[in-house]
């Protein structure tokens, strides 16, 4: 509704300044939900925290992991959240209750696990030194199916030597990242040898594979439309690809092409990239830098760098772009704070006084012929009432917003998660005075034992510069 009144579309559509800092423990992973009203953060101590972006406060905290969270994935409806940790398991949380819906154990730590875009009972997990799994948890006993990592071979000759060599190579291929296409019919997987495989989710066969880079593929993301793919690899180059339409009726695997669109890199500093993200529309690409404080934002039309965000003196890890707004969230590697960059729309002063208008330059005022004519009060009133013949509809909503109907999940509001929960280093003592929280000070937390972040907090506090901008 506020879009009807604001000129925010005139503003630039990438963030320019840091607007807030939030903190709950040491965050290592971030993910926005599809609607963009909640931000999930995973902590080093295994706690998953849901932030409400409207209030910038904690909406939920869920404990179940005891190792650092590696990945988070929201279901389409926003009710379920899948989290993986270094402790060999994944938990699907039900945000209605805040309890775990399902728990799945692996034989290795999980790099990531992404939920099917339409079905929250299916997810694909890529594991450390293990073959990736397609997990179906719709039944009480979860069904795990192993996905191939070895690239598709075109030759079918029975050359024993070659086969052996290939088998050796294939054994070294490990999937490090696996994501769904927008339709959920295919899985795009990146391997430790820089190969990209497209796997049919029904037959579990690789229908296409190509070597796209030399290093390990660390991150892969697609845009909301599902037409563009973003790949970060350890060869210090970020690549974007166009994803072909894989959902056509008679898809011939041999005709699939994955054209490379852009390569983003810093040739001067030879920077390598911690994490990458697409903007809401895919127009921009943002990346956090290794051993550096800046965030880089490129624009994808021309492939040019548009800005570098460098507010906090800290190296940033995971970064996330809000699904609809020019808002970027990143978590600091050292302190585990979550930094949020956004655009600040200026107050329109004419909005405060309706009889004023903002003009660019002086305008000579032309007086209307009848401007100062005097009429009887009743006459004016009657005319006004007569003029109100317009048809109004107070019920029908904007048809373009109808799509919101399908995800009408509303997270219950928990009361008084409390100031204790913000876990700021600074505690307000009285107006204007702040005191540093002593390390042992009670967080009134349910599992105080899991609060391994206390020393980290102390370290962060020593920097002192990060006085959070609380509103």
């Amino acid at each position: 509704m506020n879009l009807l009144l604001s000129d925010d579309y005139l503003l630039q559509d990438y963030p320019e300044s840091m607007t807030s800092t939030i903190r709950s423990g040491h965050a290592t992973m971030l993910r926005f939900n599809r609607k963009g009203d909640y931000l999930a953060s995973g902590r080093v101590d295994g706690t998953v925290v849901i932030w409400d972006l409207e209030t910038m406060g904690v909406a939920r905290k869920m404990r179940g992991h005891n190792k650092s969270i590696t990945f988070l994935s929201w279901s389409k409806c926003g009710r379920y959240l899948l989290s993986t940790c270094q402790g060999w398991k994944a938990i699907l949380w039900d945000l209605e209750t805040g309890h775990r819906h399902r728990e799945v154990r692996f034989r290795a730590p999980a790099y990531m696990a992404e939920l099917h875009p339409w079905n929250h009972n299916i997810f694909v997990a890529s594991l450390f030194e293990e073959q990736p799994l397609l997990v179906d948890i719709s039944e009480p006993v979860d069904v795990k199916r192993v996905l191939p990592s070895a690239p598709k071979r075109s030759n079918t000759e029975n050359d024993a030597a070659l086969k052996e060599k290939q088998a050796k190579e294939d054994a070294k291929q490990m999937t490090t990242s696996a994501i769904w296409t927008a339709t959920g019919d295919h899985i795009i997987a990146g391997t430790s040898k820089g190969k990209l495989n497209i796997i049919d989710a029904k037959t579990l066969e690789i229908i296409y594979s190509e070597k796209i880079c030399t290093g390990v593929i660390t991150t892969m993301r697609i845009t909301g439309s599902g037409r563009d793919l973003l790949v970060n690899s350890q060869d210090r180059i970020i690549r974007t690809f166009r994803i072909p339409n894989l959902s056509v009726e008679d898809l011939d695997p041999d005709t699939i092409q994955l054209p490379l669109e852009h390569k983003f890199q810093d040739v001067v500093n030879k920077l390598s990239w911690n994490h990458v993200t697409f903007s809401a529309t895919g127009e921009y690409v943002a990346a956090s830098t290794y051993n550096n404080h800046e965030l880089y934002v490129w624009e994808r039309n021309h492939g040019s760098l548009v800005c570098m965000l460098k507010d906090p003196k800290e190296e940033q890890g995971v970064i996330e772009w809000h699904p609809s707004r020019p808002l970027l969230a990143a978590c600091g590697l050292e302190t585990g704070r979550i930094y949020i960059w956004s655009v600040i729309s200026p107050q329109k002063w004419s909005a405060l006084a309706p009889d004023f208008a903002e003009v660019e330059e002086n305008v000579e005022y032309m007086e209307r012929e009848d401007e100062f004519d005097i009429y009887a009060q009743e006459e004016i009133h009657r005319r006004r009432l007569d003029a109100e013949d317009e048809d109004v509809d107070v019920l029908a909503t904007d048809p373009t917003k109808e799509e919101d109907g399908l995800d009408n999940f509303r997270m219950p509001i928990l009361f008084n998660l409390g100031e204790s929960d913000s876990e700021d280093e600074f505690v307000a003592v009285s107006t204007g005075t702040m005191r540093r929280r002593s390390p042992g000070e009670s967080q009134a937390d349910l599992s105080a034992g899991a609060e391994s972040s206390a020393p980290v907090r102390k370290k962060g506090g020593a920097r002192g510069g990060g006085r959070s901008k609380k509103k």
Partner: protein, 498 residues
Amino acid sequence: MSSPDELARDTPPPYKRRRTGDTPSSRSSSPDVLAGDPHDFLPPRRLSQRGGGLSKSPSKPPQYLDDFSRSQSLSRPLSESVRRSRSASSSGSRTRSQSPVHSTRSPTRSPRSRPRSQSPTSSNQSRSESFSPEPQQPTPTPPREPLKPNYKARLALHGHTKAVSQVRISPNGRFIASASADATVKIWDAATGAHMDTLVGHMAGVSCVAWTPDSNTLASGSDDKAIRLWDRVTGRPKTTARKSAGQEMAPLRGHHNYIHCLAFSPKGNILASGSYDEAVFLWDVRAGRLMRSLPAHSDPVAGIDFCCDGTLVVSCSTDGLIRVWDTSTGQCLRTLVHEDNPAVSNVCFSPNGRFVLAFNLDNCIRLWDYVSGSVKKTYQGHRNEKFSIGGCFAILHGEAFVASASEDGDVILWDVKNKEVLQRVQGHKGVCFWVDVHGETMVTAGQDGSIRVYRHIGPSTEVNGDGMRSHSKTPNQGVLQGELPIRQDDVRLEEALS
């Protein structure tokens, strides 16, 4: 020289307009009108019973209440109580008006008691007659339209000892919350009218209540400058969700003056409050933390509402301005002001969030298109000159109406499009402060300390003709009689009609 005249003229206009029961003549005149009114459906035993019920009330001994009201009226000097429209109204006026009401009413009521004892059919007839000689009704019942609101009085809920300033139906339609000048909030069952809980904790009159979208939590704002959150299920102040359970949540403090209006965001995560300190506060409900304070107006904030997607807040004030705010940035996006600059006493968004309904103290309700900044419709026919009177959009079978209370005690329903009065429901003696509609249920709050529940009776029962009427009414009556044994000592439900 002419000191009394000077004084009278010196009174600031908004205060003058919002003055409660300023002259004894105006006060005593209103009961007269009501007493002569043939539609006053209250059975004669109500008043006597009410007196008895009060003294018997177990939760609040009358001694305490008297003390309380006295201390309250002491703590607020006259100038203040004049400024205060809703909750302050009762303390002085009640004692003045009560006795004449009793005396003038009882004779007129006695003929009314006869049809009550008769069969349902005849009582029905007397009801339909009672609406026909309506003097103020401007529309002489046009040819039957497919949908016309037809709210009939069903229950009268007594229990508050002072004027009821606001009444709200919970979003799921099952409960009614009422805020009163007697410093309590009461929760009632919307279907049966049974009294469920009395929320005691405020130190002064309560002006406003708001339900969270899940209907499980209630916020109340009071003249003691605090906002309290209540658990509907337990009837206690909201407790923390953490290990230190049982610890009651502290009231939300921060306003420097009386809280006058409250609204929850559609998600329930933000609470907006408007106060006499002229500011609008946005609270993070989860943490009980003040999130944003908007320097909103130059007069008391009289009304506040969230739009359906939660991105906009509208506030209004007696300074005549209606301001639309962006929830996320806290910026004012639009200011609406009418040329005549009448004080605005209440605002609400249309169900789709595209329009703002503003209740002006010049006997008009205006429907604003806030995007274009123009008045689309003006609804007239009610009386609203001094009180902060409430209303809302009513939705019945996919049709929207505008419902508003009126200072003559009635409730008026308008057609949104052609601005015609569709129904005028007789209600309270004295001012009717608030009306809330949830589908077929309508609730009003009045200066007389009572809450009335109305129910829409669809056209199907009426079209059937006279012969069918008695038949169609019987289940309704059966329901009512079935519920009557729930009566409690301090809470009486009455089958309001018949």
